[in-house]
């Protein structure tokens, strides 16, 4: 080879060869060189930061000085349980996440079913692109688009006017609609993948045995696609639970858990309490993941 690029013997290549030989002889050394940087960053850095914030949740903030008091106490969690306003916000957030997930399932499953079983196979890749493409458009742009559409003289109100109706305006309904819109592709794609793997022969067999389409859907398709549905719901549920930006853009004054965390960091300067509030979505998601694991959904991700 002409374009040898100095890889044959020479002064520096000799050093490089020795290093290569050393790495070849010692796989453990090679492994530790490979792992040290990622582990330092993600375990020591990221997991360390997570642990630190979790510990902070058990501290308090001095009301007068604003300094963090490093003394173990359950006061923050006590406040969360005792104050009705936090219970309301937590339940509201769970409700929003559940509503978004249900809407995405109801809208997404028929679309995934069409893509996987009705559309011509050569059209399928294009439908997948059509669903995937909006994910590349910025989150903020999509939330903003809805803000414009839901405004006073916006498209939604104008379109509903002839029917004597008006749009929901900014508020909790708008939050649910926009979040469902944002996360819909995350529901469609896993369900589509799950349905595409489902052999057509099973559907034919069900039909041959006398089942009507709805019965086939209920007794054959949905049970087999259920893990994929749960996999999709992990995204829609988790992403909705931590959101506070959409709420700020279209949610009016109805706050979610994310807003409570945000406000306690910014305006109230109460990091320990914010950390305590932030443990709620984490605990809920860990429980959700544990439940999803039993359905085999985690292998569908």
């Amino acid at each position: 080879m002409d374009d040898d690029q100095g890889l044959t013997a020479g002064r520096r290549p000799a050093l490089r060869r020795r290093a290569a030989a050393l790495l070849h002889r010692r796989p453990r050394l090679r492994l530790s060189l490979l792992l040290s940087a990622p582990l330092a960053w993600l375990v020591a850095g990221y997991l360390g930061a997570l642990a630190a914030i979790f510990v902070t949740a058990f501290w308090t903030t001095d009301v007068f000085t604003g300094e963090v008091v490093r003394q173990f106490t359950l006061a923050n969690f006590q406040t969360l349980v005792d104050e009705p306003v936090y219970r309301t916000v937590a339940l509201r957030s769970l409700g929003v996440a559940a509503a978004v997930t249900v809407i995405d399932a109801v809208v997404g499953v028929p679309m995934a079913l069409y893509m996987a079983k009705v559309a011509k196979p050569r059209h399928r890749p294009y439908l997948v692109i059509a669903i995937l493409a909006p994910l590349w458009a910025a989150y903020l742009v999509k939330a903003y688009a809805w803000r414009v559409m839901l405004a006073e003289g916006g498209l939604v109100n104008e379109a509903l006017k002839p029917f004597g109706l008006s749009g929901p305006g900014y508020g909790l309904t708008a939050t649910v609609i926009v979040l469902a819109y944002l996360w819909l592709p995350y529901m469609i794609l896993p369900v589509y993948t799950g349905l595409e793997r489902l052999p057509d022969s099973l559907l034919d067999a069900s039909g041959d045995l006398g089942a009507r389409p709805l019965r086939t859907l209920r007794s054959v398709v949905l049970p087999l696609a259920f893990p994929a549905l749960v996999a999709g719901s992990i995204f829609t549920f988790s992403l909705s639970l931590g959101d506070y930006i959409t709420v700020k853009i279209v949610g009016g004054r109805r706050q979610l858990l994310g807003n409570v965390v945000y406000d306690n960091i910014g305006a109230a300067n109460n990091l320990p309490f914010a950390a305590a509030v932030a443990t709620i979505p984490v605990v809920v998601m860990l429980g959700y993941l544990a439940a999803a694991r039993r359905t085999g959904a985690l292998r569908e991700l």
Partner: protein, 269 residues
């Protein structure tokens, strides 16, 4: 097929409606960017290119785009190194805790952004502040790289598993040392996976707002933060709308690249 004609038509209609709902908001933004009515009244009273020229001249928006590009490039570079190293360790070695590596890599993106945001912000205050490093572009890059690693890791790991170690062993048998094997055999096989991962990583970083809010100081205003800060100012609305429209148009680039990449890799196998 078991679907009755009626069921097929119903599903087709639902698909059409679904796609319409997905695309109408994006079209509204595009139309509004040339809407002559500054309050975006609907239907538009006329069309103008005035907002686009005004947006091009907006210094804050231009600086924000530049900051976002810097953050995306920095975070992607760090993620490329970390993700590739971790993928090699998992794909080519056996060690205690190997299964846990995937979990640690995916965690920053699986947890709600606000949790990652406050954890990193707190850690930066405690660790970096005494060293004289305040919140700014550097901390944004560190934060973004943390959740971008997973895109590179997944792509590289999938590619390494698919190609196997046979070619690398053949290369070693023919006398190539570890570095030569990497440079002439492994790296070329990884190139498209690295590119796909980098594309996704850059897009994630460019779009991110929650972690950024907590890790950016006053000096580092990325594009999403700039848009968010100006969203509620009525006189900035046309400029915000033009930027949103521009981002929608620009998103065709990664879609096109990703598509070419996946059809190219399908051609190989």
């Amino acid at each position: 097929m078991t679907f009755s004609p009626a069921a097929r038509i119903a599903l087709r209609v639902l698909m059409g409606l679904g796609l319409a709902v997905i695309y109408v908001p994006l079209l509204v933004v595009l139309v509004n960017s040339v809407n002559a009515d500054r309050a975006f009244g609907w239907p538009p009273s006329g069309f103008t290119g005035h907002w686009w020229t005004r947006a091009m001249d907006n210094d804050g928006a231009r600086r924000a785009v530049l900051t976002s590009v810097k953050a995306g490039v920095g975070a992607t570079a760090a993620a490329l190194v970390l993700g590739t190293l971790a993928a090699f360790a998992v794909a080519r070695h056996r060690f205690f805790g190997r299964e846990a590596v995937s979990l640690v890599v995916v965690l920053p993106i699986a947890l709600p952004g606000i949790v990652t945001g406050i954890a990193l912000s707190n850690a930066f205050q405690v660790v970096l502040k005494p060293l004289g490093i305040g919140l700014g572009l550097f901390t944004v890059i560190v934060g973004h790289a943390t959740f971008c690693v997973v895109t590179i890791y997944n792509n590289v790991l999938a590619r390494l598993r698919r190609t196997g170690a046979n070619l690398e062993e053949a290369s070693a048998d023919l006398g190539a040392d570890t570095f030569q094997t990497f440079w002439y055999v492994t790296f070329p096989a990884l190139r498209s996976a690295l590119f796909a991962g980098a594309l996704l990583s850059f897009a994630l970083s460019f779009d991110e707002i929650i972690v950024t809010t907590f890790t950016a100081g006053p000096g580092a205003e990325t594009l999403p933060i700039w848009i968010f800060n100006n969203l509620f100012r009525p006189n900035q609305a046309p400029v915000v709308n033009v930027l949103a429209a521009a981002l929608i148009v620009l998103s065709i680039v990664p879609i096109y690249l990703a598509q070419r990449l996946s059809s190219a890799s399908r051609g190989v196998t």
